[in-house]
């Protein structure tokens, strides 16, 4: 780069000419630009093609299911004849299972309301942004908190005889105990994995576990009067 100017800066008052943008670059002040050059592909047509293939595969699978299995259709709605059990759609059967144990205002309003609130605020809490293992920092205090929360939750569920919710809770608590006794230097890959899980992972996994178990129990294991029925008992 030479010091000699190879441009002329001036003011042009001719309004009919389109303005030119001039950039002045002097020595030693050039910005260092660091651009990510991760490999990318064009949305049109490559990505759209992949999406189309994915949707096509799904459509074929669903068409096949629709050809083989008929949608259920029972008799005409009859308000004077209540089927036993009367079941909600499958994705609400977890809720209906809870309604079996708790009053409607708790199981039908409070719990789903709290779940929705909890889902909405996930990205706004720092604890969910942290990616460090739960028991790696501030270990003693967090262990104490974990013992208290796990004990209170288990006693509460046991008190109301909510066995179907208690079992997943105990399994998750056992896994968290293993995690607390593991470190990133543990010899087994599974324990290294557990040790690195943050708090948000444990809460969400517990929620997923409960959701799956409660929904499955409500769908397959509940018969007349919401009594326990094995699927093969018809």
């Amino acid at each position: 780069m030479t010091d000699a100017k190879d441009f002329v800066a001036g003011v042009d008052s001719n309004a009919k000419r389109s303005p030119r943008r001039i950039v002045f670059i002097t020595r030693r002040t050039s910005a260092q630009v660091k651009a990510e050059t991760e490999e990318q592909i064009q949305t049109f047509p490559e990505v759209l093609f992949r999406a189309a293939v994915a949707i096509q595969v799904l459509a074929i699978a669903l068409v096949w299911i629709a050809l083989v299995f008929n949608a259920p259709l029972e008799g005409l709605a009859d308000p004077s004849h209540t089927p036993n059990p009367a079941k909600a759609p499958w994705y609400f059967l977890g809720l209906q299972e809870m309604l079996h144990y708790f009053p409607p205002v708790v199981a039908g309003v409070l719990v789903p309301g709290l779940v929705v609130m909890a889902l909405i605020v996930i990205p706004y809490f720092k604890v969910n942004i942290e990616a460090d293992g739960l028991f790696l920092k501030d270990r003693q205090r967090r262990l104490r908190m974990f013992y208290i929360v796990a004990a209170v939750l288990s006693i509460f569920l046991g008190w109301f005889h909510v066995v179907v919710a208690l079992i997943p809770t105990l399994i998750m608590a056992a896994l968290m105990l293993v995690a607390s006794q593991s470190s990133p230097k543990s010899s087994s890959a599974f324990r290294r994995y557990l040790a690195a899980r943050p708090l948000s992972y444990w809460i969400m996994t517990w929620f997923l576990f409960e959701l799956v178990v409660l929904t499955a129990v409500g769908t397959f294991f509940r018969g007349p009067g919401w009594s326990w029925v094995w699927p093969w008992q018809g």
Binding site: S30, Q32, E38
Partner: protein, 283 residues
């Protein structure tokens, strides 16, 4: 010599009518392909380019795409079903029987609609958990996560309102069980239930309300939020890939590991210029 399909298509794209419809013009250069996305009112919701790595199956399992697929299937089967359906008691149930025994492919249409609806509820949940476990809700994607939660609720409501429409025993009692929960809301529970059902019990008014919600209000609301959901993916920096996040890039630079995968390029680097500006390309 016979022309190939490509040549015919190429000629078609040169015609005045075609060019008046599609603003992006002809040609298959990178620029033209980018313009094809950017200049299209629907496709401009998406980025013109996508990082190859996040398109691998393991990154997303394509759950969002598949959810959109079920939604499209539901619209495609739902509209023909509307042609054969009267939201009145007991005609609604007779229409189910007609679909089953009289209408050509009526049974298939209803089956596909029903199973697609179940698939959509399942896929929305799966999509949510996948996004959570990837940590893709982190800044700047917080609000898109919130929109996702809204879409989850809309999906549940869509499925729930559709559940009543066949007007059989299954539908009637499932909605009765569900709407009884609404009356458990403190203070205004019975009012909410009355608003939802248009009466004190599940009856013809409830059927009409659920029909309007299911075929009009909820699908339009869903489309509105889906559009924002897609648009925010682009505005928030494209599909989430952890190693492209600004803080990860900064940390990599700070640790002097900038040569690790993914490769980064330096423009005009000098030894005596300490400041680094990390530039993320606008998607």
């Amino acid at each position: 010599m016979a022309k190939t399909v490509d040549q015919y298509f190429g000629e078609l794209r040169e015609t005045r009518v075609w060019r008046s419809i599609f603003r992006s013009g002809t040609g298959s250069s990178t620029l033209k392909r980018a313009v094809a996305i950017q200049q299209n009112v629907f496709l401009h919701l998406f980025s013109t380019k996508v990082r190859t790595r996040v398109l691998g199956f393991s990154a997303t399992w394509y759950l969002g795409t598949l959810t959109l697929g079920t939604f499209l299937l539901l619209v495609a089967t739902g509209i023909p079903l509307m042609l054969y359906y009267h939201p009145s008691v007991p005609q609604a149930y007779a229409d189910m029987k007609d679909l089953q025994f009289v209408v050509s492919s009526g049974l298939f249409l209803r089956n596909l609609h029903r199973w697609s609806a179940h698939a959509m509820v399942f896929l929305v949940f799966a999509h949510m958990f996948k996004v959570f476990y990837r940590g893709a809700y982190r800044t700047p994607r917080e609000f898109n996560w919130v929109i996702g939660v809204v879409l989850l609720l809309i999906t549940l409501l869509l499925s729930y309102t559709g559940y009543l429409l066949p007007w059989d025993q299954l539908a009637y009692w499932a909605i009765t069980v569900g709407s009884n929960i609404a009356s458990a809301v403190p203070l205004m529970g019975d009012k909410i239930r009355f608003l939802l059902l248009g009466g004190h019990a599940v009856n013809a008014n409830a059927l009409l309300r659920f029909y309007v919600l299911h075929c009009m209000i909820l699908p339009l609301t869903a489309m509105f939020f889906v559009a924002i959901h897609f648009w925010r993916i682009r505005k928030d920096g494209g599909l989430y890939s952890h190693s492209s996040e600004p803080e990860v890039v900064r940390a990599r630079v700070a640790n002097g590991r900038e040569d690790e995968n993914p490769p980064s390029r330096k423009i005009g680097e000098k030894e005596d210029t300490p400041s680094t500006v990390s530039v993320k390309e606008e998607q």
